[in-house]
Amino acid sequence: MITIEHYLILSFIMFALGVAGVLTRRNALILLMSVELMLNAANLALLAFARFTGDQTGHILALFVMTVAAAEAAVGLALVLALFRKRGTVNVDEINSLKG
């Protein structure tokens, strides 16, 4: 029998993987992918709550999370592209000055 706690624990584990990715990786592209992982974990929790309370409103919020994730990925990747053009690296440790 699968209860809501199974889904929540899975969501927590995936969120923790995303946080660990953001904190330990230094490649900007993989940082963005880790953020996607975290957003997905949040969506999973939202849908689990929607299913186990029988209230469909959570689906709408998950839909908006996906919209924001798409916008975030587009702008984030454009930033990575612009940075690479300017500095020739995607290593976030080497990107350490505000002035171009």
Partner: protein, 166 residues
């Protein structure tokens, strides 16, 4: 019965692929693992009776966003020596311990949700029709605001990534 089987298959696969996303050195491999992870999560969405969201997950995430990632990865065309120095064992161990600690804290953070099993839901739950009814009645304004956000993101990303604006 089958619900449990599929839950365990897809959740184990999702966690394994998630680990691969953050451990692969090459961003292309990471992106491939993330696509697999997104498919597993879409399957879990379907298990949660969110049929419309499962389809959107595959179309938007695995389809559109990951193609964008692959485009950028291949446009940058990073050489192996541009991926940065290999991580030291100390960093790997620190990352592993940190991951375990965060996961344990999160799991301990909630104790007993008090929800026993899934309630009965009507036939329409999670279909395009019921989701659409919610979006276009109760949540029409947020929906329109989301379209403005997407427009801003399009214009912003084009103007950021362009070499010369004028």
């Amino acid at each position: 019965m089958w619900e449990s089987v599929f839950f365990w298959i897809f959740s184990v696969a999702a966690v394994a692929l998630g680990v691969l996303v953050i451990t692969f050195r090459n961003p292309v491999h990471s992106a491939m693992a993330l696509i697999g992870n997104l498919f597993c999560v879409a399957a879990l969405f379907a298990l949660l009776d969110a049929h419309f969201l499962a389809a959107i997950q595959v179309l938007v995430y695995a389809g559109a966003i990951m193609v964008l990632f692959m485009f950028v990865i291949m446009l940058l065309n990073l050489k192996p020596d541009e991926l940065g120095p290999a991580r030291q064992n100390a960093a790997k161990i620190t990352g592993g311990v940190l991951l375990g600690w965060i996961a344990i804290r999160l799991i301990m953070g909630f104790s007993g949700s008090g929800m026993e099993g899934a309630p009965e839901i009507d036939q329409n739950f999670g279909t395009i029709e019921s989701t659409g009814r919610l979006i276009f009645n109760q949540y029409l304004l947020p929906f329109e605001v989301a379209s403005v956000l997407l427009l801003a993101a399009i214009l912003g990303s084009v103007s950021i990534a362009k070499k010369k604006l004028w």
